[in-house]
Structures are given as structure tokens and as C-alpha cells.
Symmetry: C2
Subunit: 344 residues, 2 copies
């Protein structure tokens, strides 16, 4: 990273994740509530230290936190966690932005605290001591709430998925129910991002958009590190009237997901897009192969971490090796690393 760069990982929860079949960000729906808290510990410490699970998909694919942590170990940077509404304790240090877990998007109000969180995040973003800010996210169910926000804003309603087969019809059904419950139609909240995130979003989107607006107001460069959730955050920023330069850094897995149409939406939102291919097809390991099968794809800032590695001229072969090291540590095969990068 540049000396003036900082990487914030915005972590939260939404009850939308409990809808059966909506997300692969956990081995089972009732375990997903732990995923962001465990991701925070993996990014901070290299493994969960008190969180009771290692987040994996139903097929066992480890969380993309592994990649963000691995790149951090190689480049010697650590993401700082922002608590945008965790539902379970984490032993990672977190910055508080008055977050609370989000409700099911099928309720009338999905994020009761949207305005307070947006404002707290905006203040943090405008005061954060960096001139180059990278923002990642971890929130199971987040592509569905992203679809909800995009739909409410009247943007093209396409999102990616952490599952190989995108359950897009289910997501559209959930969003339709949410619009009904909120008493609105698609596009009704164009130009009204706070209402869109409050009624159809999640607490991570409220926080990421607030951080971005605050940082842009302070003249800080912002890169949204992620896939379609970050496109929804960018849409919120644009609908708040901010047309500053804004970047998106995502993985080739999302960029190549035809159901997500990332390029089209990024162009319409005037984003500078960086796509990084970690070359997982050039190696073989369970932690890499699942991505090649279309699982996970992105999340926990993975696309941003890969872009930072590329910018630092770190080879993807080195990144892959460290990903395997971190993944094996999670399954008990290696030595944990210290928060400051030293070996235990």
C-alpha cells in the first residue's frame, strides 16, 4: 500500500441472510450470523481467536477473508474493521459507527438506524487520516439487499452471487416483497439514497456510502473493494449527488459473472474499474478450486486486496501461495501470525 493508504473493512449483518438459499456466506443459514465477526478476526489475527466458526460455504469453500488477510501478510498492511452492525461478538478491534443488525428486507424498514449510521460514517470518512481509502464489506445476504437498493433507485437490477448458480429469481421475489412492504415501486427512491438504504438496504450499505461521501468531501480518493454490493454503494453515492472520481476494484470472478453485468452498471455510474485475476486456475488447492467453480467470487475486500498486490508488483503466484498458507492455518495445519505481521 502507499503510505497514505488505508483499508477499512465494513462488517455487518442483515436478517435477509436467513432466507433459505439466498447466500453461501456460511455453511448453513444459522451460522451466517457469525461470518462477519469471524471474518474480522481472520483479517486482524490471521484466524478466528474467539469467534466459534471458520466461515465456509455450504461446500466448504473458505471465506474470501483468506485472500485479504494473505495479501495483507505479503504487503504488511492490516485492514481496520468498522462495526456496521455485527450481531455476534468479535475479538477484532472495531470502529463504532452506531451500527445495528439489519432486518429482513421484506419488512417495511430494513435499516432503522440508516440515517445515524450514514452520518456517523460520513464524519469518520471525512476525518480519517488517509488520502487513499479502500473500503471492503462482509455481510451475508448483501447481494440481495444490493439488489433491493438498486431496484429502489431505478438502477439496472442485476447482482452477482456467492453461489455458483445465482438464485436471482429468488432475490427478485424477495426484493418485490420488500418493495410491497415499503409501499414503493422500482425507481421510486431515485435521488433519495437514505430512504433507499433504510427501506431496501442493509447497515453495511448505509455505512459504506456514508464513509465514501465523507471521504470524497474531504478530498480523499476512494476505492470500493468488492462486487455488486459495492456497485449498490456507488449508486447510493451518485444518487446523493456526488459525481467525484470513484473507483471499484473487483475480482475476475465477479467481472466474468454474466448475471451481474458489472461493466454496464459501473459505466453508467461513472466508476473507474480495476479487475484482478488471481490466476487460481494456475494452481490447485481446495481453497482456490472452489472459486474456479464459481463459489464466493468476491467479498471481504478481496478484489481490492488483489488490486493492491498488483499495484505493489507482487506476483499472483506469491499471493496464491500465501492464500494457501492462510487457508491451511484456518484448518489447523499451520502457525498463526501476529496482528503486527510477526510470526507467533
Amino acid at each position: 500500500m502507499r503510505d497514505d493508504s488505508a483499508f477499512l473493512l465494513v462488517a455487518g449483518t442483515t436478517e435477509t441472510a436467513l432466507i433459505d438459499g439466498i447466500s453461501a456466506a456460511g455453511a448453513a443459514p444459522d451460522l451466517m450470523v457469525h461470518t462477519p465477526s469471524a471474518d474480522a478476526e481472520i483479517v486482524t489475527y490471521g484466524e478466528p481467536i474467539t469467534a466459534p466458526i471458520v466461515p465456509v460455504s455450504p461446500s466448504g469453500c473458505p471465506t474470501p477473508a483468506v485472500t485479504t488477510r494473505a495479501v495483507g501478510e505479503v504487503l504488511d498492511f492490516r485492514a481496520t474493521i468498522v462495526d456496521a452492525g455485527l450481531a455476534r461478538a468479535t475479538s477484532a478491534p472495531t470502529i463504532d459507527v452506531e451500527g445495528a443488525p439489519g432486518r429482513d428486507v421484506r419488512e417495511a424498514t430494513a435499516v432503522p438506524t440508516a440515517q445515524e449510521q450514514f452520518e456517523a460514517a460520513r464524519e469518520l470518512g471525512s476525518n480519517y487520516p488517509a488520502s487513499d481509502l479502500w473500503l471492503g464489506e462482509t455481510i451475508p445476504g448483501g447481494t440481495t439487499t444490493a439488489l433491493g437498493v438498486l431496484t429502489a433507485l431505478g438502477e439496472p437490477a442485476t447482482v452477482s452471487s456467492s453461489l455458483p448458480e445465482n438464485p436471482i429469481d429468488l432475490k427478485r421475489e424477495v426484493v418485490a416483497d420488500g418493495l410491497d412492504a415499503s409501499g414503493i415501486a422500482a425507481g421510486d427512491l431515485a435521488g433519495n439514497p437514505l430512504a433507499a438504504v433504510a427501506q431496501m438496504g442493509d447497515p453495511v450499505l448505509a455505512t459504506v456510502s456514508g464513509l465514501t461521501v465523507g471521504a470524497l468531501e474531504a478530498g480523499t480518493d476512494v476505492t470500493l473493494a468488492g462486487g455488486t454490493q459495492m456497485l449498490a454503494a456507488a449508486a447510493l453515492v451518485r444518487h446523493a449527488g456526488h459525481d467525484d472520481d470513484l473507483s471499484l476494484a473487483t475480482t475476475s470472478f465477479v467481472a466474468n459473472d454474466e448475471s451481474a453485468r458489472v461493466d454496464e452498471l459501473a459505466t453508467s455510474l461513472d466508476l473507474d474499474v480495476t479487475v484482478t485475476d488471481p490466476g487460481f486456475d494456475e494452481a490447485s488447492h481446495p481453497a482456490l478450486d472452489a472459486y474456479e467453480r464459481g463459489e464466493a467470487k468476491e467479498g471481504v475486500g478481496m478484489g481490492g486486496a488483489l488490486a493492491l498486490a498488483d499495484r505493489a508488483e507482487c506476483s499472483m503466484a506469491t499471493v496464491r501461495e500465501q492464500i494457501v498458507t492462510v487457508a491451511e492455518r484456518l484448518t489447523g495445519d499451520a502457525t498463526p501470525q501476529m496482528p503486527d505481521g510477526g510470526q507467533r
Copy 2:
């Protein structure tokens, strides 16, 4: 620092600090509630980023957070903040241990959450990925609650002060009122540390003692970085039945404070004591001179930071230069530094 070292700064508040004349950890009693939150930002970012004050004593002496941050900048380590009961928001990332602000020690119960905090801290301490843990504290009014705990445990009732003239008679009076309110006499809670901290302590003491017990149980080396508050924490650990090796690292200002009798108490608690003299008499700057006059003396892990500098063979002249740099940054004369150590 050694690669396997970690430095945790335990930050909290007690309403005991509002007693007039009891503490110099703020320009005025009503500002002290901000001190630990601002200290956390100074240690993390090099200056307050959203906290509304720079903590200074009534005479303008800057907080010892300056020294801990300065050593961190020289040695390239950052203390991690543990929120043991902050009363005001901080933009520093903090680890949550279910803390809540402490009440006035003259009430029957000073720390209603003592047991939960102790247990949460113990779990964190036993799982924290370090084999060498340094613990600092920031809590205005903390020497009075330290006196309360030492008295309740039946240990020699002597403490230092952040004021040049230790208001020890006032502290004894406050503690006597606290014992009365709790319906106990001096020494009644020997061997009962949880009751001592709940009735006569503060949330930082509950957390530091819990972290220490957990870490010792896991075989982690612990150094308590501070003055008489850390002696009270050590007393709590000893009264919990733990006789493992335990270290104290403090400043020459506390060690030379005859009212505190650090050596005597440390010996009786079987602590390995390191005293570091930063040689402030060899330079002249308002941020250094106040210490020579007996203000502040210690806090925010200052003695531990100095010991770490010494262990790394960093000269005290270098440390003093960086202290001046950080102090001038706080008063608007220099360039802030990034959380990861780079220059903005």
C-alpha cells in the same frame, strides 16, 4: 517489539474522576470524560481525529499518550485499544469486553459489570495471539480507585498521582466513604478480587486483571505498563491466586514518587520491575518539562513504551525527539501520521 509481542491499551472511565481535585488527567473535571477516548485516537492515529479535545493537565501538560505514540512511531508498533467502559465515542478501533463506565467509588457498587468484564477480558487474554503481552491503561481518577482496591484487599494503601502534589488525604477520604458505602472495612476483601474491584475499583482494573489472568493461564508473558494503577491490577491477580511471573514497567517519575512506594508494594506482590528514565531533564520543551515538575508521571502505557524502546536499543534522545514531534502535532505544528506508520 519482539515479533510475538502485543500492546493493549485498556481505556475506560469512572465517575470518581469528577471529584474536584482528584486527577490531572484533563484540563477540568468535566473534560476528563473525553480523555480516554482522545488518548485512544492519539495512540492509533497520532492525533485526535474526531474526539473534541487534546487531553492536557490543568497546567497544559500533554497526556502521556504522546510518549506511547512516539515510541510506537519509532519502533513501528501500534497499541490496540480495549474499550473497558468509554463514556464518549472514539474513532479508534477498539476491542469490546462488555465494558461500561464506572460509578463513583463512594457508591455501594462502583463497577456493576465487574464480573462480566473480568470474564470477557479473561477469555480475550487467554486467546490473544501473542506470547508477550503489554498492558497499559487510561482512566482519569484511576489512582483513587486503585487506592480503593488496595485498601479493600488489605494491601499497603499508597498510590501515586498525576498532580505534582499528591492529594492523598482527599483520596483516603474518598476511599473511606467508599468502604462505608459498601459496608466493608480495609482488608475485608482479601482473597476476593472480584468483589474488591466491583465495590471499590473501576472498569479498567476489572479488565486489566481479567486480561492478565487469562494470558497467564495461557502461558503468555505479561508486563503491566504503568504505575500504581497497575500495582492494584497486580494485587487483584495475586489475590485471585495466580503466582506466575508478572512484570511491571513504569517511569522513573512514578518510581521516584515517594508517596507511591512502588518498590515496596511491587516486592510484596513479587513483581519484576523495570523503571525507565526518559531523561527529560536533558532536553527542554513544554511537553517534557511538566513531567520534570511532577505532572502526569505515567499513564497510557508510557512506562511500558519506554521499556520497549530501551529493549530495542533505541536511545532516549531519539524517543524525546519523537515525543516533541508528536506533542507539536497535537498543537497544530506538524504533519499527522498514518495508522500504519506512514506519513500523510
